[in-house]
Amino acid sequence: MERSLSWREFIITRLIQTSGYSAVLFVLLIFFFLLREGLPALSEVDASSLLNIRWYPIEGFFGILPLISGSLIVTLGAALIAVPFGIGTAVYISEIAPRWMREILKPLVELLGGLPSVVLGFLGILILSPFLRVFLNLPTGLTAFTGSLLLGGIAVPTVVSVAEDALDSVPRAYREGAWALGATRWQTIWRVTLPAARSGVLTAVMLGVGRAIGETMTVMMVTGNAPVLATKLGSLFSPVRTMTATIAAEMGEVANGSTHYHVLFFIGMVLFLISLAVNIVASSVVFRARKRAERILS
């Protein structure tokens, strides 16, 4: 019986080890397939024309710059909303709210994180967009700004949960030390607790931004889908097209293996590389910050 026990244990252990490495396998698989279908775009379309400012596939214009600028402008707007509101709410939940309030708010914020993006896009079309059109006196309510507002709302729960966790893990001793020195709770938050949670809060922001860049349905429904290069600040209030919306909107109508098909995969690859870069930067920032913290604390 001892023998059979160890046989079973051996198989189970091997299965578990393999599962552990599965994540790496999948990342490589995704990268490989994006490459497989996306690289041909570079040979079929002149690399320089990819950097064109016209995206008009029907006539063979595959300039992806307007798409990149669309994604950028919407994400920037979303970040400008999500970062202050997200960190502010996290500070409220972690440092200011009474315990009973915290028990209500945390699940509520988590709920927001679970709302399907298509539902938010739906409400965006029906409510937010007409409202903004009237309120801001715009020709159309389907703009980058509308997208930013909704994306900000989508990114906020991510920022709040990660930042709140980071603030919560700051040892109580830090706060008590500040109070003992006569600091008000407000001063303690800004001068002690928040800086101590710096790496976690930064991670929260990066994750939130990552979420915003990657959003598809909401932006597809409310940003107007006009692939126009954003040239001035006012572009925030005109329609744009993000990279994600482009893929989602046009993939259904391309022929397999056509140039358009390859270019869409190429855009997908660009998105993959952007999120890869953001993650690598985020984890190295966190890693270095943690090393610094360990040195200081030891």
Binding site: S19, S22, L123, N279
Partner: protein, 287 residues
Amino acid sequence: MNRFLAQNRHAVQRLGFALITLMAVFTVLPIVGTVAFILVQGQPAISAEFITGFPHDGMRAGGILPAIIGTLYLTIGTAIFSVPLGIAAAIYLSEYAKDNQWTRLIRLAIINLAGIPSVVYGLFGLGLFVLFLKFGTSILAASLTLSIMTLPVIISTSEEALRAVPQAFRTVSISLGGTRWQTIRRIVLKEALPGILTGVILGLERAAGETAPILFTGAAFFLPRLPGSPFDATMALPYHLFVISTQVPEMPIQIQYGTALVLLVFVLTMNLIATFIRSRARAKRQW
């Protein structure tokens, strides 16, 4: 300026707290507002026929049963692939993995998987499952795609739940002659189960509400019958809502809100179940 702020510390604090509280309110209010609004607007559309009937007249009338069933199938399909794999990977990271380069690589991969845009998953699913493996636009392809997308969530929350179990339990079990797997199965996994379950449900909840990954891998707008095999395409609530709100002319607003409400209820129910499991486990915990 600093001196001014310092001398009026308490006033500054009151102002600051008010500002932060306002921010929190403005963050939370839209959530409550959204849910309440859809509830109110969508409720008139809900009827037995809506939930159990098939659509007629180009989706403009009738029910949305195939979309509901479709989302159910996709959620179950996602669970089948992502849950065992995700929990196993979490067990590896929590109980077996040493702190070295390889483990860091795995963690980086997980963070990356979590950050990939949902539409890129759709592309990947199209490339691998629909075309290369020739599964076609099917529940199978869509479920596999959703599973890989859900994997990082399940792995992270499960690992956290496993790590929360006190190390002392493992030491005691080993000192009584237990093997590593016996220790995991009898104690660690058992105690971490509620936390793992919560994470799984939250992950599946997200998968149920996603549209982009299923756009080119399994979703169809109009199917005359319910799907009969995993190789069939299916209707699904999020995709259905997307199409009827953007691409069908003269779509009764009632049906749109009704569909949104059903999707919301589906997702919120899962959320509530997860929260319930978590708070009950916290109360019953013996450590």
